[in-house]
């Protein structure tokens, strides 16, 4: 038996023995994903047990090194783990901005002390993070951010305002871009700092989204304090880290959505009808659905190709620059098609007849995918300038 087969057998046995019954069901939506933290939003006992058991094996973040709380697994082993989890319908034990965004940046730019301090609590789901980038006047033009950090010897005093800070009201710590120097170009003088949200100088006010939930906040800093030990990289050199982290954020957002249980085409045939050959009776919708499905397959193949190119040592090709743009536009298309296929059933906002409006709320939320993490327009600017080499106007 190969090592990988052996690993599969052991993994299967361990999951069978350790995954609580209630955790063997796919998540139903954003609200159903466990993000951990000091006071977890989901306080289902099995959820905690499941996260703890997985964390003990390092499998909440299986690809990170063991010394930081990860599982130290190879890419192939991670794949086996995912396959075995989906075999029994096991849900992800933990997901968070710590895992998808801050972790990769710390692994790349943090000191050994910083990694040892912050990564293990992320893996164990003890500390939940939020991202303090955008400000009212610094959105697409992120580098013009104005939140100030004043040098106070062993710490910084932070004053200013962030906006659209997702889960700032639920998070324990923030990774934050601040201005430590005003003298150079706007990209210089930006620093990347971490600090605890549980202090008097930090206030997060939730903002309601068009989908009805309030995942993001306005976040105010009034003499908030960040220890200098938590400055990542050099002072004034935060922009490079910020950008590196954004590539990981974009990867995460482009993968949002997930596969529905039944194909849209099947549902459409059920709700609208088919001709004698089984073709969806509405030819216009049929074409739209087919085009969407085709692009989804081609996009999936592109992601796989880029991944394989990286593995074979060819490096990250230019195709990766379209991921965020294409993935989010596809997800928005899918959500529009959900409405087209669902009809009246998809337009309900509340009540049992409409499963609490899940379809239409997801559709509204998907509109944010091409805005958060850098808008579609910003992504296309990057492709035209950096990849195609087109000059500025």
């Amino acid at each position: 038996m190969s090592d990988l087969d052996q690993f599969r057998q052991e993994t299967r046995a361990w999951l069978e023995a350790n995954c609580p019954e209630a955790m063997r069901q796919p998540v139903t939506g954003f609200e159903d994903i466990y993000n951990g933290g000091r006071v977890p939003e989901i306080d289902h006992p099995d959820q905690k047990v499941w996260c703890d058991r997985m964390a003990e094996k390092g499998w909440t973040v299986p690809h990170w090194p063991k010394e930081y709380g990860g599982g130290g697994l190879s890419a192939d082993e991670v794949k086996v783990l995912r396959q075995e989890m989906s075999r029994i319908g096991a849900r992800q034990a933990l997901d968070s901005f710590g895992i998808s965004m801050l972790g990769p940046a710390l692994l790349q730019f943090g000191t050994q002390e910083q990694k040892l301090e912050h990564l293990p609590p992320i893996c164990r789901g003890e500390i939940r993070w939020c991202q303090g980038y955008s400000e009212p006047n610094a959105g697409s033009d992120l580098a013009s951010l104005a939140t100030r950090a004043e040098d106070k010897g062993d710490h910084y005093l932070i004053n200013g305002q962030k906006v659209w800070t997702s889960y700032a009201d639920k998070a324990d710590w923030i990774f934050c871009l601040v201005r430590t120097d005003n003298t150079g170009t706007k990209h210089e003088g930006i620093s990347f700092v971490l600090f605890d949200m549980d202090q008097p100088g930090v206030e997060a006010r939730p903002i309601k989204l068009i989908s009805g939930s309030s995942p993001f906040c306005e976040t105010f800093f009034d003499n908030a304090r960040a220890d200098k030990a938590n400055l990542i990289g050099e002072e004034g050199k935060g922009w490079t880290i910020a950008k590196y982290l954004l590539t990981h954020e974009r990867e995460m957002i482009s993968g949002m959505g997930g596969a529905p249980k039944k194909s849209l085409g099947e549902t459409a045939v059920e709700l609208i009808g088919a001709d004698e050959q089984g073709r969806l009776s509405n030819g216009i919708l049929r074409q739209n659905l087919a085009q969407y499905q085709l692009d989804t397959v081609a996009f999936g193949a592109t992601m796989a190709r880029v991944g394989d190119e990286v593995k074979s040592g060819q490096g990250l090709g230019p195709a990766s620059s379209i991921f965020k743009y294409y993935g989010t536009e596809l997800n928005k298309r899918r959500n529009e098609l959900n409405l087209a296929v669902g009809g009246e059933e998809a337009l309900g906002w509340e009540g049992d007849a409409y499963q609490g409006g899940q379809v239409v709320r997801d559709w509204l939320r998907s509109k944010g995918n091409s805005i958060e993490g850098g808008t579609t327009e910003v992504q296309l600017n990057i492709v035209s300038k950096r990849v195609l080499g087109l000059p500025d106007a």
Partner: protein
């Protein structure tokens, strides 16, 4: 007919714009939503609309209306779309009065049309049964019995169901779901025994509901039109309904577009207004072109109703399909070009994307009408 408004129509349009921008705005819709208002629109504002004659715009003078025709009603509905004004104009005036005018006999018209025209009575159409608009897929039955008929079945997407006095229920007196023959229309009192009304909450926060008919007895005089012969009057009513909704969508799209262009001139990033980026300029200019096409097809379709043009079905599907397409694009661009603030409930642009999708899907969406447009054109 010249594709321009006459003086009377221009005055009506201006009056509607002025009134609705003051009395029935997006802010009012938000208030109705947030207070969980049981009626879903302001009775006072509705009374004022009726006093100005809007509830009878397209109803003949003989029956207490203004006799301005559907072009006039369409102009008001466009302003309704711009302001997202909540009222029974769509359910009762655009659709309820129309089906009675199309199918009713003199006595039925005399009984119902003046009451609708004065705003006192709300009459709404109950047709759809499945998730999608499919006007011949009717399973609700009407069986002869007693002094008339007994109705059984269920309906959804019934506009203003919870405040209607009377439903026009489309039921089958013969044939199978899918047949056009055998469809009949019945006037059903909302308080009749066996009628259950469920108010439902939709994304646009306007009113619609579901209806269950459980052995509902109606008199023979409740039959609107001939037994089994509702299809042609019903189809004309649905064409008119879709043209009216297209007018409303024209208002929704135009307003979303103009607000977005205003934002492009105001919001600064990278030291300049975002409207100076050519990527956005061209998209706005393309949308402007589409909106001009949309405006023309809507006016052409409205005039076709009033002139009795034979190509009404084609024009109705053309107008609805085009406006579904343009409204989707205009409202999507509206959110996208506003960036983060466009995703917030506090900003009003989100109300437009919500109303647009609900109106798009009412009585057939883009896919339905483009497909029908192709079929009616013979391919």
């Amino acid at each position: 007919m010249a594709l321009v408004l006459n003086e009377e129509q221009s005055m009506l349009k201006d009056a509607a714009a002025g009134f609705l921008a003051e009395k029935a705005t997006v802010a009012h819709l938000r208030e109705l939503r947030d207070s969980g208002d049981a009626t879903g629109f302001s009775q006072d504002v509705w009374k004022e609309m009726a006093d100005m004659g809007w509830a009878g715009i397209a109803i003949d003078e003989e029956f207490g209306g203004l006799g301005y025709g559907y072009t006039g009603l369409g102009l008001v509905l466009e302003q309704v779309g711009r302001n997202l004004s909540a009222s029974p104009l769509q359910s009762s005036v655009l659709i309820g009065a129309t089906i009675i005018a199309e199918l009713g006999d003199q006595a039925q018209k005399e009984q119902f049309l003046p009451a609708i025209a004065s705003g006192q009575s709300i009459v709404t159409l109950a047709i759809q049964e499945g998730a999608h608009h499919a006007p011949s897929q009717i399973a609700t039955t009407a069986v002869a019995g007693g002094n008339g008929y007994v109705l059984n079945g269920s309906k959804r997407l019934v506009l203003d169901a919870h405040v209607a006095d009377t439903f026009v229920v489309i039921a089958r007196t013969s044939g199978e779901p899918g047949d056009t023959d055998g469809l009949s229309a019945f006037l059903v009192d909302a308080k009749a025994d066996g009628v259950a009304i469920e108010q439902r909450s939709m994304v646009d926060n306007l009113n619609c509901g579901a209806l269950t008919l459980n052995n509902v007895s109606v008199d023979a005089s409740a039959l609107l039109g001939s037994e089994g012969g509702a299809a042609s009057g019903l189809n004309r009513t649905l064409d008119i309904a879709n043209i009216g909704l297209a007018s409303e969508l024209l208002g929704v799209s135009t307003e979303a577009f103009e607000r977005t262009v205003a934002y492009l001139k105001e919001r600064k990033q990278f030291g300049q207004v975002i409207g100076s980026f050519q990527g956005l300029q061209h998209r706005a200019a393309e949308l402007f072109a589409e909106l001009e096409l949309a405006r023309s097809i809507v006016l052409k379709a409205l005039q076709a109703i009033d002139s009795g043009d034979e190509s009404l079905p084609v024009l109705a599907s053309a107008a609805k399909a085009k406006l579904c397409e343009v409204a989707q694009r205009a409202t999507n661009e509206g959110v996208q070009m506003h960036g983060g603030i466009g995703m917030t409930d506090e900003h009003e642009i989100g109300f437009f994307i919500k109303r647009a999708r609900a109106a798009q899907h009412t009585f057939g969406d883009y896919n339905y009408h483009l497909d029908r447009f192709a079929s009616l054109n013979g391919f």
